[in-house]
Symmetry: none
């Protein structure tokens, strides 16, 4: 209560999440145990359960943190988009840059994105952000900023391509310089794809 405790509590929570990310990356989520996570901190095993009920909760917390960070940026950017090109670019650019800078959490994010429903892709935060995207797409269509396109397939495509490219980008070892190329390719690809389906 007096600050020192509160501080310690927060730091412990972060300690566990950090350790969780490390272990998830190292061993994969399946193979990770609560023991693995707690072993890397210097906390007692029981302490884990003061903060999380399971390793999955740690994962969700880690993903939510990332989702909030990147989601906030993307939402703000979308508001400013004047046309399709900007709309897509303003999603792709921060997304890929985030992926580059936070590749570790992003690797978990990606390598587990589609996992089993049990704890899976649909972090509350992620669901929320995807819903925001969908709403902004609909609004964009109504306002004439975006062409008239199947909203579901569009959202899926932008998500899939962005993730796919991010994954490829991250796994290219020599990926220092070509972030701009990746952004350009990705934006171009999606914009053109979208445009072409206008007449379908």
């Amino acid at each position: 209560m007096t600050g020192k405790r509160e501080e310690n509590k927060k730091s412990n929570r972060e300690l566990i999440i950090k350790s969780g990310i490390d272990v998830f990356l190292e061993k994969g989520i399946n193979q990770t145990t609560v023991r693995d996570i707690i072993r890397k901190t210097n906390l007692a095993s029981g302490t884990f359960y003061n903060y999380f009920k399971s390793k999955e909760e740690v994962l969700v917390a880690a993903l939510d943190d990332a989702t909030v960070q990147i989601g906030q940026v993307m939402r703000d950017q979308r508001k400013k988009a004047k046309n399709l090109e900007e709309f897509v670019l303003f999603q792709i650019e921060p997304f890929l840059k985030f992926a580059k800078e936070h590749s570790s959490i992003f690797l978990i994010l990606n390598s587990n994105l589609n996992m089993v429903e049990s704890f899976s892709i649909e972090t509350p935060m992620m669901t929320l952000e995807l819903r925001y995207l969908r709403e902004d797409v609909i609004a964009g269509i109504e306002q004439g900023v975006l062409p008239n396109i199947d909203v579901d397939y569009f959202c899926t495509s932008i998500q899939s391509v962005a993730e796919g490219v991010a994954r490829t980008f991250i796994s290219k070892k020599d990926s220092k310089a070509d972030i701009d190329l990746a952004i350009k390719f990705c934006t171009n690809f999606i914009v053109s794809g979208v445009k072409s389906t206008q007449n379908v």
Copy 2:
């Protein structure tokens, strides 16, 4: 006698794979245990190990089966493609149709595809097929069938979009009629995307 034995052996193997797919779908790969799989057959637990070393081997076997089926078709089709449109269409059409018909195995494939460094996303068969695709793309570019494009990003994109659309398509409950729409959307999207990146 020997025939019957051989038959029985094969039938046990298939029994296990079939049970594996069921359980993987039901509980997710993580939560599935060898016990779960063997319980659904009427075999003894020890029998499992006469056929597979682990549940992961069952998964790989199941995926390989599917990969071989769909891969064969796609490879044959690619040879016949005269231009970009056909090249893409000939990939997308059988892929989405397969996804529609075998949605169960496909759901495992998709819902766990990326999870899985731990037991290798890349089934030998899948690696092989992706390499075949890559080779055919390179050959396509050389022969002028395909435009000059970053091979890696192209492969990634085609794979990502196809998977994303397949996933969306499968999860739309009322998906009897619009398979053709999905194919058209998907093909258009990729073709246009690719064309646009020619000048990048």
Copy 3:
């Protein structure tokens, strides 16, 4: 200030005992944890240890309270007994009436009375009261108020029958009216039993 503190201290102690009785009844002594007890109060877990060393101490405290109440009455009554009938009646009547009124504590007492070498069935208070009974029986025999009978078996019998009848009585749901019947049955039964063994 000091008065209020003192008051608070007492109230916490009683709070814990009360909560203990509730939980013991609800979950049984075995399954009850200190956490369970403290959770029902709004005290912190550490506070528990300012008053008791273990849940067993809470139990003993609760039992002792009851034992003291009922024991006091029985002791007083015994002194006034002029003959066997009165001696028995003066034990049974207050005992069964107490059991009726305080059935909750009595249910704990009974439903766990024999379990418990581990944390001692014999509350100091209970041992004391049973010793008092034994002494009064011996005195009663010496003074001719009671017939000459094996003291141990007599004490056991009176205790067993009283408890058994109390248990049966309590578990009969419609037990508003027949408390007098129970007392009569019980007294009759013991008195006659005792008389019959005089000549053994």
Copy 4:
């Protein structure tokens, strides 16, 4: 299947029950853990769970064994009773003799008889035997073998007194010779008690 296995299975089950009884007596049921039980056998910890789900199941199995043994005898005897004296004697005699000979299991039986509902007094077998007793009492009353008495209180009393006396008897260290005295006391006590309540 071939006998050797079947044999081993049976022997393991008995091993666990035997060990369970030992530990229950030694540490009390509360304090006994599955690990304690299995440690005394030379079996692996997992093996326990091939036979029982919990220590409580072991307890029930042990109690059921005893209940079946003693219950069988008592049921047979009751049929032969010609009058109240015999009816009671035929219950008490085998019961107390059994208690003397099998005092270990009987100590568990008694010291936990009234325990918490969770696994408690009411072993399926015990419930059954008590119901049989009740039925025979009712039949006895109808046939004029027993006097007209409240069945519930009678059953409770006979049970309470028998148990109480057994407990006292067992706890008397020098109890080699006086089993007959105990039987006589107990029978006399109950018979007289019952008779006295005829006119209530």
